[in-house]
Symmetry: C2
């Protein structure tokens, strides 16, 4: 018989989970007290929090516990990197039904720990509760290392818009899963056997934000930055609004992204437009930044547009109306 | 017709909620970017996180939105104070059904803001999602102001155990609500008309942790401290275990707490033992600390026991077995 959370009880579960977390040098007091203590050498701390709910942000038949751990950590750690900060610590509230297997919960912990390791951070604390379905409340912290935080409001006409990371792949993977294709939750997520579609599904299950490029873009002088979680057009729209500028995207570069296999073959199979995935797909957690024209573009980033006077986001000068993004409650 | 979250949409809701939060001096970058930036003058930051779920941690027919906001903030800010830190910032993930009224959500924001103001902290960021029932993921941060964090593991034989705040009142209020007594969710929670029982119900709805006494007890030299969220015996048991000591509670002092009206009259009505509420009731979020015998006990704290060699928690030398506390999944 497979042990469940109810079999194990809250305190044993906490012990088993926290045993999976190797505490990094930034953790001065780890799990087990009223609160944790993290180092904050900059004397300022970057903080972001997100909820992930089963059935809305992930499905257990589409994602393993390890996948959900990676994703929950990634989407928060990417927000820290998008401020130009080095991720330091992750805090995870975890609620689950008593009949959830202990194995699933430990796999979740492993995914959280592995994604934190990718970012140089540590799971430093959390909370456990019972619930009818799985929910996660994840908070990530980071250190600015002496730099100014890179806000959404600093873009200036003449800035070059650069992309770090991938676009549209997570959305394509979600579309494949929704259509009943590429669904193989037991597969090793690092495998890439299925003509590349598996890679798209993996991009949905385990986004891979380019964490070190957040601080690198800040150090390069980025005037504005954000992570792409709701779709490129929508998220750049936030920068355009906050900065009082227009952002014009290069058609060529984005078309090239949309033309890179396996996006076109997956789109053909589903009757979708791969450029739509690139422009409006969220959850790859790429970073987009506006750099002064004279700045050296860090390796691993590519130019995708230009900041102009005006308002809104355009694609080769034309409106992107209708290419919106996600809005809860609608 | 009363407007719902679905009527308003995510982005308008965020605007309406964040407008309720006056940003304090510790908030360097507030809501609206990828992440917030808080000051951390000590170069260490205290962090704690909790989940609150409708139906498990609160009920909408027993608690108003303002009540839930107060409680969600209080239980996290108390954990910060229990480390000896000054609370600085609160981050709130909020998930709710689309048919929840905007009024309820704004009342929640008001309660969060008001409780933060009691603690000297600010709501500095958050996340909003849709869900089938209301859930909150709350994270609180604090600054140690140059002091060492007060852990659970530092108690030494000879230390005096002191209490700051109330015990058993929240549990009595919950028992009254469960029994269908004192149930008047529309009442002004500050009213105290019903022979004092309303005060017990209010203690359940809006615990009032003694925040400034956390740093005060740390400054007084506390060897160990925690907040009472799972019940006095269980939470002191954590200190006893972590410190490798026995904690012996004074019968007289705790009996006096249990004899203070309205606890005895409420207990008589319900056929309960008020001493049980004092010993095992959680959620008042009192602070308990172990002070060296020569330390001056800060005003507002009272002596309730002594640290001895040995293990476990005793009451006037006798076992407290059976007086356990809360365990999720059991």
């Amino acid at each position: 018989m497979t042990a469940t959370l109810r079999d194990l009880g809250e305190f044993e579960l906490i012990r088993a989970i926290t045993a999976r977390f190797a505490l990094g040098q930034d953790v001065l007091v780890g799990p087990g007290d009223d609160a944790a203590v993290l180092s904050a050498p900059d004397a300022r701390v970057v903080v972001t929090t997100d909820l992930l709910l089963e059935g809305r942000h992930f499905r257990r038949d589409w994602s393993s516990g390890v996948d959900v751990g990676h994703k929950a950590a990634a989407q928060n750690l990417a927000d820290v990197a998008a401020m130009g900060a080095r991720p330091t610590g992750l805090f995870v509230g975890f609620a689950a039904p008593g009949d959830l297997t202990v194995d699933w919960a430990l796999a979740l912990a492993d995914g959280l720990a592995a994604e934190c390791a990718r970012a140089g951070a540590t799971v430093a604390g959390g909370d456990i509760s019972s619930a009818d379905s799985i929910m996660l409340g994840v908070t990530a912290l980071g250190d600015l290392e002496g730099r100014a935080p890179v806000l959404r409001s600093g873009a200036r006409p003449g800035d070059v818009v650069v992309l770090a990371g991938s676009l549209g792949r997570a959305e394509a993977g979600l579309a494949l899963l929704t259509a009943g294709l590429g669904h193989d939750a037991d597969a090793d997520a690092d495998a890439d056997a299925d003509a590349g579609w598996t890679g798209l599904v993996t991009a949905h299950r385990r986004p891979r934000p380019p964490y070190p490029l957040g601080p690198a873009l800040a150090a390069a002088g980025a005037h504005a930055m954000c992570d792409v979680s709701d779709g490129l057009v929508q998220d750049l729209g936030h920068i355009a609004t906050a900065s009082g500028v227009r952002i014009d995207l290069d058609l060529g570069g984005l078309t090239a992204l949309a033309a890179a296999e396996p996006l076109p073959s997956a789109a053909a199979e589903l009757g979708a437009d791969p450029l739509d995935w690139v422009l409006t797909g969220g959850e790859d957690h790429a970073l987009v930044a506006c750099l002064p024209p004279a700045a050296a573009i860090p390796g691993g980033c590519e130019r995708i547009g230009l900041v102009l006077p005006g308002t809104g986001v355009t694609l080769a000068g034309r409106p992107t109306a209708g290419r919106g993004g996600w809005n809860h409650f609608r």
